[in-house]
Symmetry: none
Subunit: 215 residues, 4 copies
DNA sequence: TATGAATGAGTTTTCATTCAT
DNA sequence: TATGAATGAAAACTCATTCAT
């Protein structure tokens, strides 16, 4: 059952609870990572742990729904960016900024099997991956994106930058990911011509990586 | 008592075990983060859990000793870099590459109270911070380091880049931090002149941050 | 939060469990002393170890609640004794008999910091200490209590007599504290006029002793 | 092998170690009871844990040797008392004072199977029990010992009084057993004629009790 | 022989998940 | 449906005992 379907059928109070849990989970996962105690999430959401479990039968489904939400918002942004931005580079930058803003990285890699397993999300996921990949290629062709950067590199950057260093848990207000993203973006611009070590991570490569993940 | 002193007094077999534990801890912390089960570390080191606890009375002391080791190695590199590199920028780059190579970030921020509390390390810590800060300032004065970058920004970059995305635990061989470091370094060069959001993190600021950390 | 308050708010089954745990703890502490394994207590109470920990977050809080209960019952007895007994000596005897009956000694000294730290109990503790001390003084003035006996001596006697000798763990049914208490009470009567070695332990002295205890 | 035999055969340094361990064990058992960590005893004795185990293959043999030592000293005192004191009551009092002085109670009941199992001690044990029992009977016949007191009651009193209340571990210097012993002795005198609850514990009864102990 | 290192079983404590109210 | 109680598996940590140096 997709989130939307679930949401549509729920009683008003149940839907409110569900959203409070998601919001609390977003905060707590950001602070403590995706292994944070669910008790804490329920507590911050102001609901009982039983209520949390009624809406999200296990930790994965909570993570999955948050990822799905991030992905949906990312897709909205990406569609708008492609339509409104002057070129591929600017579209890409706008998308990445949005993902970092959402702290998407705090949940772990964006395209894991957890999401892949959710059939209802297949469409938006595929569309997002396709859009980003095409934009990456266009930017490279335009000579605005640095040589040797793959779509998977972009994904990993979002992950690296969108989560606070371990131990800075409660200090997220002092944590400035946007700052480090801008440095990174400058490093991604085509003006940088030094060859990079390692190999580019394409969408295909990324999928393979995730297939090997246990989570 | 510093690691070196402890090490010197131990019986041969005990020292071997101690080093195996440290090596295993380095791997396991890299894969799973600094909350990884100590059982797992003991198992990989090929010793009983009791042996681990005899050498390291609690998790903190294990983390601390690894941090201390990283810091000592970082200081060695930094000293050599200052002596041998043609300018401040190259010295800084060499130091940061080394820290990322050591995956220093997998333990959390480098200058936390855990280290500060270890008096025997005060000297090397202070020397390292001093050297890096001076080099950062020199590089800025030289016009090689981007405007608005503080020493604390450098530290946080090391942390962000030197640990694998959550969930990529067992795949560290596929994880290419050096690649992302080089992108970041290009973003740090003075050729980039866009103003950065947020504020620079100086050594002072960093210390304050760490003082607020609970860990 | 006092035990009574906690108890009132709990669900029926939870309250039943809580009381079973307390009852089991009373038995087990009597048999094995206040360091007895909590597993054993949970097992005898017929609940999971997790349930025990839900009600009593650590060993201290279990000990504290039992002490609090003993103290409350002791206070009830002392009040009644003062009201109903013909003189101070008889009141004192009645109180001490009750405390020994409760095996208060099996938990260690009655007025430790563990209790002192529980603010909700301050009142009953202070009232009890005050009542006992006044009664001790009255009995001495009446010429019924032996010279040189302080209120703290009474407390320590309760502790010494109200716990079985080490190793008699499972034989508490064969252990006859009431017997030894009566001997002791006869020794405390004013008919005994030999001077005692050491010094009297007053309430003040006792408090000082407890302040020095680590537990 | 009895303690004496062991002692006689040992090299001078080994015997010194053995005695240091016994002395440390006496202190530590007094402070923490007979379950105290053996590490702590070795540390205070200034020897390695291995040395402790070479002399005392397990905890029991350490406890047993201390008990044996107490018993031997008690027997010496009892013999002297019988020879020198004017009557049975004074002999008994002298013996009990000595046992409390030795803090014999800190090891648990004096006649447990642990001692009974040590054949080399049979003789002194049997002699001591016989002497004490005869003296108890004589004192009762003399009309100096309270009616209804058995030899086992005396033993248990020694145990109850000769160990500090739990939690007063490190404060043994503030703990005044001699004071409480004198009160108890006054309660044991024949001038007290109130009947006692429970039943007298004779030597036979005591042996039966100990046979039921698991320790 | 003395030492202290190694081991693993026993305890404490936490937390995901299920279930009774 | 919402709640929070109950459970037990997992992880941290201690310590008796054995064994290598």
């Amino acid at each position: 059952m997709s989130e939307r379907e679930q949401g549509a059928r729920l009683r008003a109070d149940a839907r409110r609870n569900r959203e409070q849990v998601l919001a609390a989970a977003r905060d707590v996962f950001l602070e403590q990572g995706p292994d944070a105690p669910l008790d804490e999430i329920a507590r911050r959401a102001g609901v009982g742990i039983g209520t949390l479990y009624r809406r999200f039968p296990d930790r994965d489904s909570l993570v999955r729904d948050l990822m799905a939400d991030n992905m949906r918002r990312g897709l909205d942004e990406m569609r708008a960016a492609v339509a409104e931005e002057p070129d591929a580079w600017h579209a890409l930058v706008r998308f990445v900024r949005r993902m970092v803003e959402l702290r998407a990285g705090s949940l772990g890699p964006v395209l894991s099997d957890r999401i892949r397993a959710d059939p209802a999300l297949g469409a938006s996921r595929d569309e997002l991956v396709g859009l980003v990949e095409a934009t990456v290629e266009q930017a490279r062709a335009d000579g605005t994106l640095r040589e040797g950067i793959g779509m998977g590199d972009i994904s990993l950057l979002i992950v690296m930058i969108g989560r606070p260093p371990h131990g800075l848990a409660e200090l997220t207000s002092r944590w400035q990911p946007a700052r480090y993203l801008e440095i990174m973006l400058d490093g991604l611009a085509a003006t940088n011509t030094r060859p990079l070590p390692g190999r580019a991570i394409t969408a295909t490569e990324l999928r393979e990586l995730f297939r090997m993940m246990k989570g």
